[in-house]
């Protein structure tokens, strides 16, 4: 780097040294940064401790602020509901009768299903909830899509565990502090979920696009199997995610795949459920850097 023409250090030894060491220190910072970054890339688990601790310190702040926002939204939303109560009441009643009919039909199907499974000798794997928390924050400053979950190792949450809401899949835990965890959302580019179409069961692959939507491609090339409004669900392949958890709804078709929007909106859903990995053996693989 050329010394600035206008202000040479001159003959002052002290000023020359001060300038020189300032530059050396900045270059030193750059080198240290590069080493840290390379370590981040090659062995992310090396930082698990410090990043977990940082999560524990920062997540309560986010959680408390989130509480305020939720309360404010509740007041506004509550007032809005009050405004058109009569109309809402009528439509809710209509919905309820329709729902009741569907529930009866679904119960019958469930019963039949249980009988058939018993006949086949299949053992039902029940998915157990490890912990229930809330998505309190997100990585809104970067192209990666992460959420901050308000439960951590202290509640039994471990990296690799799937996270869902009542609506659908949110993602999986990638870092866990003792009281908070970071979740890789399904809309992140690196989150690849083996899935299938609910209608017909065609196997597909769901990949996040980094902007809140999901890219869905069929496993077998050929005819585009998607229709607008189709629901895709997890297939359970790979063992990380339990099968039959809804992921997304198709909104647009393209050449050989489709664009989908996640069903579980982390911004809207109040509670997120952390479940055990479907096959515990998959957890060991999920923790390796290549899958981060």
């Amino acid at each position: 780097m050329a010394a600035p023409a206008g202000s040479r250090p001159g003959w002052s030894r002290k000023a020359q040294y001060s300038l020189f060491f300032g530059l050396v220190a900045a270059i030193g910072g750059l080198v240290v940064g590069l080493i840290l970054l390379v370590l981040s890339l090659l062995a992310p688990s090396a930082y698990a401790g410090i990043r977990g601790a940082a999560l524990d310190v920062t997540a309560p702040v986010t959680g408390a602020l989130n509480e305020v926002v939720v309360t404010a939204q509740g007041i506004v939303g509550g007032a809005g509901d009050y405004w058109n109560a009569a109309e809402q009441n009528a439509s809710l009643k209509r919905e309820r009768t329709a729902m009741r009919r569907q529930i009866i039909r679904a119960k019958a199907v469930l019963q039949e299903n249980a009988q058939l499974k018993a006949a086949l000798g299949l053992r039902e794997k029940t998915s157990q909830a490890v912990a229930v928390g809330r998505i309190v924050g997100s990585s809104f400053e970067s192209s990666r899509r992460f959420g901050i979950l308000s439960v951590g190792r202290g509640d039994g949450v471990m990296p690799g565990m799937p996270v869902r809401t009542a609506d659908g899949l949110v993602g999986r835990v990638i870092e866990a502090g003792s009281s908070a965890a970071r979740v890789l959302l399904v809309s992140d580019r690196s989150n690849i979920v083996p899935a299938r179409l609910l209608r017909g069961g065609v196997p597909v692959i769901s990949t996040g696009r980094g902007d809140g939507t999901i890219d869905v491609r069929p496993l077998e090339v050929g005819r585009n199997p998607f229709k607008r409004g189709d629901i895709i669900v997890t297939s359970g392949t790979g063992g990380l995610y339990p099968p039959l958890v809804p992921i997304a709804r198709i909104v647009r078709l393209d050449d050989d795949g489709a664009l989908a929007v996640p069903l579980a909106d982390p911004a809207q859903s109040s509670f997120a459920i952390v479940e055990r990995a479907f096959e515990p053996a998959a957890l060991a693989v999920a923790g390796t850097p290549a899958n981060r």
Partner: protein
């Protein structure tokens, strides 16, 4: 740095408030990094990186807001707060200090438009590097997806610059 090494330490400060006033720039950068703790659950990641904007706004306003090597620890704090890969901001922010040293040595004068142009270049470089690292970490999104983030940061820079200018006036009691 070059010029700060030449000027006497007390030159820019008035009287006794030296120590407190000289920590304000770094403290505001940390505070801006902490904005990532806001409970915003966004599906896109287009919000500007407030810590980085404050850093370049201070460095563009003054030659010596902090000793050059402070950029590394400040970047480390930013990495921890925002959840970026550790080392990303340490590297980038140190590089920004060196790049600004170069810019200072080559520019005779700077008006507001030149500063904005330099900030835009730094922001683009920051986003590009961030994007490259995301790609290496298994999330290679198309570059077009981060263009909105760059544009938003570009337009957020004048706000950061305004805040920094006011803080700078306030810290010297002017």
């Amino acid at each position: 740095m070059a010029r700060s090494a030449l000027s006497s330490k007390q030159g820019a400060f008035k009287g006794g408030a030296v120590s407190a006033a000289s920590y304000i720039p770094a403290a505001t950068v940390v505070a801006a990094s902490a904005l990532s703790l806001l409970p915003i659950v966004s599906v896109t990641g287009w919000w500007p990186n407030a810590g980085f904007l404050m850093l370049i706004a201070w460095r563009l306003l003054r030659i010596d807001p902090w000793p050059a090597w402070w950029a590394a620890p400040l970047g480390f704090i930013n990495d921890l707060l925002t959840g970026a890969p550790i080392g990303l901001s340490v590297t980038l922010w140190s590089a920004v200090m060196l790049a600004m040293e170069f810019v200072d040595s080559r520019t005779q004068w700077r008006d507001y438009w030149v500063e904005w142009a330099i900030a835009t270049i730094l922001i683009t470089a920051d986003c590009w590097f961030d994007w490259q690292i995301a790609g290496l970490m298994g999330a290679p999104v198309p570059f077009l997806h981060i263009v909105p983030a760059i544009v938003l940061s570009m337009f957020a820079f004048p706000i950061a610059a305004m805040i920094v200018a006011r803080l700078d006036r306030w810290r010297f009691g002017r």
